[in-house]
């Protein structure tokens, strides 16, 4: 009887804990959305921020976040792809490979602020790129590389070895076999991984404060010449992102509506993350279904 009661209590506690975790999340999301959604308007999303007066928006920051995300993915995807292929296909089983894997693991667990500071030291100061989108994208690449590499390696490994052997036995090179046969099969996993990593990159701030900078310069959204200094596409301009903006106005913001702006911006960030999450699932499933279906292409 005693042990039965004990059992009942313990199970109840476990259930209560699980429910509390759900409540915590529901509270977080609910609070952010409830607080933030009322501030979101077309004007808020498109107009520039203001430093000292109320009524500023997050237009440039939103653009910067998306632009940086795009650049980061463009830089980090090919490198991760190469590294992922190396690890799954070419890495010999020896000490060097162990060291390489360890290095990637260490890189993935480095605090993002350290990665950001390194980017600051090397690119902003040493290479004199200054606070710029380019420096920011490179720092985010460092931050993104280990996760994307691991994801690509796992996706490649999950493809049946039979497919690999089929290609090789026909006299194809390993490189072509991987690129033309294995990678298309691994695509659902890779796409899911990229989209999830996009969510992480989109919300990252610590690595950007000292690389992409904390100011959103006035950009002219009608000037799309990437070499012009007022163009939004210019790689060398400092670019405060949405996440950095939230941090900044909360640490040193002096505009009267700082809380409202952060609430709105936080809601936008959360919605973006939710969208990335849903997109990852949807795209992954969609691609998977498309590939395994026996229907005509």
């Amino acid at each position: 009887m005693n042990t039965k009661l004990q059992n009942k209590i313990a199970i109840t506690i476990i259930k209560a804990i699980a429910i509390m975790v759900v409540i915590i999340l529901a509270f977080l999301i609910g609070r952010i959305l409830l607080q933030g959604l009322p501030h979101i308007s077309w004007h808020f999303l498109t107009s520039p921020s203001r430093a000292f007066t109320a009524g500023g928006g997050i237009g440039p920051q939103l653009f910067n976040s998306l632009y940086l995300l795009l650049l980061t993915l463009i830089i980090s995807f090919p490198i991760s792809l190469g590294a992922g292929i190396y690890l799954s296909e070419y890495a010999p089983k020896n000490g060097i490979t162990t060291v390489i894997r360890m290095a990637i693991e260490v890189l993935s667990s480095l605090p993002s602020v350290v990665v950001g500071l390194f980017g600051f030291l090397l690119f902003v100061v040493q290479f004199k790129l200054g606070y710029s989108i380019l420096s920011g994208a490179i720092a985010l690449t460092f931050f993104n590389l280990p996760l994307l590499t691991r994801n690509i390696e796992e996706s490649i490994n999950s493809v049946s070895n039979l497919q690999r052997e089929a290609g090789l036995a026909l006299g194809m090179s390993k490189w072509r076999t991987v690129n033309k046969i294995i990678l298309p099969e691994a695509l659902p996993g890779i796409v899911t991984g990229i989209v999830l990593s996009a969510g992480r990159v989109f919300g990252e701030a610590a690595a950007l404060i000292y690389t992409a900078g904390q100011s959103a310069t006035n950009v002219n959204f009608s000037n799309w010449n990437p070499f012009s200094s007022t163009s939004p596409l210019n790689l060398m301009r400092p670019a405060e992102t949405l996440a950095v903006h939230i941090w900044k106005i909360n640490s040193e913001g002096i505009m009267p509506d700082a809380t409202a702006v952060s609430a709105g911006a936080s809601a936008v960030l959360i919605i973006a993350v939710l969208v990335f999450n849903l997109m990852a699932r949807f795209l992954g499933n969609y691609l998977y279904k498309k590939m395994t279906s026996a229907e005509t292409k």
Binding site: T3, N7, A10, I11, I13, I14, K15, A16, I17, A18, V21, V22, I24, L25, L28, R31, I32, I79, S80, L81, G82, Y90, I100, A103, I104, E105, V106, L107, S109, L110, P111, S112, V113, V114, F118, L121, L122, F142, L145, T149, M172, S173, W175, R200, F202, G203, E204, A205, A206, I209, V244, I246, W247, N250, S251, A263, L269, V273, L274, N277
Partner: protein, 306 residues
């Protein structure tokens, strides 16, 4: 005909060249990552050591001193680089967050693996994925608007401090620790459980005496991973900790962590000065701690296998 084949298999072909190109490309990619890792350590280490080699600060002061004012020379003519308040702050929030998160993570993981049906498991899986996805500045903002006032009203003080930081970090590391604990619990062989249940043990007895015991190395690894994440987290903590480089006397007084001082300070100091170098020394500690957490995890995994 005969000779043509013979010739072909002795000579290079399109495939040999493709293979060479592929190898070179992948080697370059992996090499680049290695270079990044090595340079991060090299650069941060070089900058971090300068405080002691160039500016002649003493290591002892750094680890035990409580006066952080690196721009100024102390009475012994050496810079005031007492980093103990930040070190204590970092460890404080990390350990406290881990202490709060562990029961929650284990409880949730047990619920997911042992109690919940498929539906409950899926719900919690989604919850965990969403918690991971919330950006740290958003946690910081919630910390400022919810946790700090909550701590102020219920515990006293200004609300800023180690307690508020720990609460935020607790939620931030919860998903990591939980999902790794789930993996650890799943790795326990099924027959352990069925044997225990067949002997008449209750579900809780089985969980407590068999399952958790067998999963200890995995759970420890999960906690350490969580701590590594908490130790390195910068902005969310910086926003709620109060940023006072004083040795924390209670959980409710403003304090600082290695990361918070770094994020605040780098922009306000000039490259190459003692004040700046001292900050890099803090970054070096962060780097080394991250390495130590890594080594610890490896060690536990190795031990768990034996």
């Amino acid at each position: 005909m005969m000779d043509k084949i013979k010739e072909k298999i002795q000579n290079n072909s399109r495939e040999t060249r493709q293979e060479l190109r592929g190898r070179i490309l992948t080697y370059c990619a992996i090499g680049l990552i290695l270079i990044v890792v090595i340079s991060i350590f090299l650069f941060v280490a070089l900058k971090g050591i300068a405080t002691f080699t160039q500016d002649k600060a003493s290591l002892k002061t750094f680890f035990t001193g409580t006066n952080w004012n690196p721009g100024i020379l102390g009475s012994d003519g050496k810079p005031l680089v007492g980093a103990l308040p930040m070190i204590a702050g970092s460890f404080g929030v990390t350990i406290l967050a881990a202490i709060i998160a562990t029961p929650f993570a284990i409880g949730t993981a047990l619920y997911m693996t042992e109690i919940a049906g498929k539906k409950g498991r899926n719900v919690l899986q989604s919850v965990i994925e969403l918690l991971v996805g919330i950006p740290s500045v958003v946690y910081g903002f919630i910390g400022l608007t919810v946790v700090v006032p909550f701590v102020r009203d219920h515990f006293g003080g200004s609300g800023y401090g180690i307690l508020a930081g720990s609460f935020i970090l607790f939620v931030m590391i919860l998903p990591t620790v939980t999902s790794m604990t789930v993996d650890a619990l799943k790795a326990v062989p099924k027959h352990y459980k069925s044997a225990s249940l067949a002997l008449g043990a209750t579900q809780w007895q089985t969980i407590y005496k068999v399952l958790l015991k067998a999963a200890i190395p995995g759970i420890l690894t999960a906690i350490i991973f969580g701590m590594a994440r908490a130790f390195g987290e910068a902005l969310a903590v910086q926003m709620v900790i109060g940023n006072a480089s004083l040795l924390p006397t209670s959980l409710l007084t403003p304090a600082s962590t290695l990361t918070s001082v770094l994020t605040m300070g780098i922009g306000n100091t000039v490259m190459g000065t003692t004040a700046n170098n001292a900050l890099w020394s803090l970054a070096l500690i962060l780097l080394l701690m991250s390495l130590i957490f890594n080594i610890l995890v490896r060690w536990i995994v190795k031990k768990g296998r034996m």
